[in-house]
């Protein structure tokens, strides 16, 4: 395998983008990535999208988006592993470039979630759970993550206030991100007093419904300097693991086995450990998810992640900055695009271009993107060259 580098990034402002369609926002982010890299061609494309069939009645996104980007007849493929589809698209791009099949590959992610009416978005998202054993029984994601939260609180004494502090920290970071859907600050009190969704999670513990797209360009590391003026960001690890799709099949519902596995493989691939990471973007679809992922990735001991935000350890400037971008909570969560946006953030951080939310001197960063309640997880580690 050849070494692979990220040489271009782009993303749209995320939010409720009523005036734009799925193809519009994808093309906008892809053109920004192409322009940022400064390349004059793409050899192949991967598109991460969870369920455009249910959200906007459109599948076959690979061809549609290559066509609208003016890139046909290049190969262009959509990949899906629920909310980890974006990172999975990136992983396929890395393998394609690493293998020598292609040189310049675009990995993008997109989801247009606000065009569907009624409770359509809740149903569309529920298809990431086990339809036959979870959804038919009436549970959707807020309920599943609420059960994980209760289990964590019960086993480790994690408090309601500690979960709220995760949201407060991520909104403080997101307030400094011009692409964020909700770039405003919160207080613990406001999180606690917001409307209850599924006890103990209030609406301000939950990531929002978002329209958005993001794209990155990868190429062989040894070609990067000839192709772009940007500082190449090297891919040090690219891993993917799965767990049971249903939460009830797991031995411990407060532990994310696929995250632990993908993390372990990533550290091994890179020859690094958690203490080598200067920052990490994790999948905080709910506040409890951030707590569980930072434990599974080894940044905090099992059961000790609850205090991470309250203590300041996971803030920008803390021991391990978690979700400097604002995370899914503040930046938004257009599910198929989230994994790519995490890579956009780490690339900007390692280039030193993250403005007010810059993690000082960041040289190595990690992204962790997961599907469902952690039934799939994709982890990447990046290093500034």
């Amino acid at each position: 395998m050849r070494d692979v580098a990220v040489i271009g990034v782009g993303m749209t402002k995320w939010g409720e983008l009523w005036e734009k369609s799925l193809r519009d926002i994808f093309v906008e982010s892809a053109l920004e990535a192409v322009k940022d890299a400064g390349v004059d061609r793409i050899d192949s494309m991967y598109v991460g999208c969870m369920t455009s069939g249910l959200f906007v009645g459109q599948e076959h996104l690979g061809s549609l988006l290559a066509d609208y980007l003016g890139m046909g007849p290049i190969p262009s493929l959509r990949v899906e592993t629920a909310c980890a589809s974006g990172a999975a698209a990136f992983k396929q791009a890395v393998i394609e470039v690493g293998s020598g099949v292609s040189d310049i590959v675009l990995a993008g992610g997109v989801e247009k979630m606000t065009d569907i009416g009624g409770d359509g978005a809740t149903f569309a998202l529920s298809t990431a759970a086990d339809a036959e054993y979870e959804v038919y029984s009436g549970v959707t994601f807020p309920g599943l993550y609420a059960m994980m939260a209760v289990a964590h609180m019960d086993a480790y004494g994690t408090t309601r206030e500690q979960l709220a502090a995760v949201s407060v920290k991520n909104h403080a970071n997101g307030a400094k991100n011009p692409h964020a859907q909700y770039p405003f600050e919160l207080t613990v009190e406001r999180v606690l007093n917001s409307v209850m969704i599924s006890d103990p999670l209030t609406i301000l513990d939950c990531s929002p419904i978002t329209d958005g797209a993001a794209a990155v360009i990868v190429c062989p590391l040894d070609m990067a300097k000839g192709l772009t003026k940007n500082k190449p960001i090297k891919v040090l690890a690219s891993t993917h693991a799965t767990d049971t799709i249903a939460l009830h099949s797991r031995e411990d519902i407060a532990w994310l086995g696929a995250v632990a596995k993908a993390g372990e493989l990533a550290y091994k691939q890179a020859g690094l450990s958690p203490s080598d990471m200067d920052l990490v973007e994790v999948h905080d679809c709910f506040t409890i998810a951030e707590v569980c992922t930072i434990e599974a990735l080894g940044f905090f001991e099992r059961g000790k992640g609850g205090a991470s935000a309250e203590s300041g350890e996971s803030a920008i400037g803390g021991r391990i900055p978690v979700n400097a971008s604002g995370g899914l909570k503040s930046k938004g969560h257009p599910v198929g695009a989230t994994g790519i946006a995490q890579i956009v953030e780490v690339t900007k951080q390692l280039r030193g271009e993250a403005d007010k939310r810059q993690v000082k001197g960041a040289k190595i960063g990690m992204t962790q993107n997961m599907g469902g309640t952690g039934g799939s997880c994709v982890v990447h580690i990046f290093g500034a060259e």
Copy 2:
């Protein structure tokens, strides 16, 4: 890239499988492939599926199916490019093995199409077209292919009877395939007199709505002999191309540009030409589709494909046997599984295990799987070692 070989194949009987769920049929075909190969592990999985979200309310198939196959925590990813999803899953497996990332990879395809009520299947399939410019205007796939048929008849004098002969030929082959959904013979008269769907196409010009799954196992060619007792089938070419998603955007709607491109790249990769192929499985979602694909792949001159079945040239025993399996028409078309089943057929043919439909002395075979009206196309060439 390492050379890659197919070492195991499996597929379920296709049809209206009311008693089985999507996960049941996938696991059935995957276990058959594992048993056929004789391997004791899988390192990674790819699942081709077009739109399980719309058909059965279930996404996140990568994790679901790895879980139900008992293979977690291995990486497992769903890929989608409409009706070419199966072949795309196989292509990703080839890249992953070729690159050295994994050794033993399962590529499967599945679609459960009969569980959806009313006109749900027609809507679900329509998402492979351009939703905003084709589907919103009221056209679905029978209409799109009917326009292609009219254009071909108008430009080249292709007759209604010639199209019917494609269906007759494929049913004659499918009658010899124990996995086929409709294993019975037809006559030209019966095709012509069957119910009109979209002029000039009658229902017996159209592939059916099918439940089905198929799976294959690939590994590095140089490991094949140590892993399996089967004759390894070498992957000689693996290519993918795209075209405009909308039919109206093309210069000639009777010509399949992505098929021609993917075919041209495949011949180049393999160092072979159309005359070297001993058989080909093509994407006959409608009779006219077979006519257009065999022209685009260079087996017949542009405009001359219409007479292929009527003349006997595309029959088993003819100059170039097309769809010895029965094709999508007789075997069935569970969209995400079709591309994998084509590979199952060519593997069996090259192993000499195709029973009554065996193409004598077959050494080299091709598969061609496409999405939509040819907005995407994936082509493979295989050789018996």
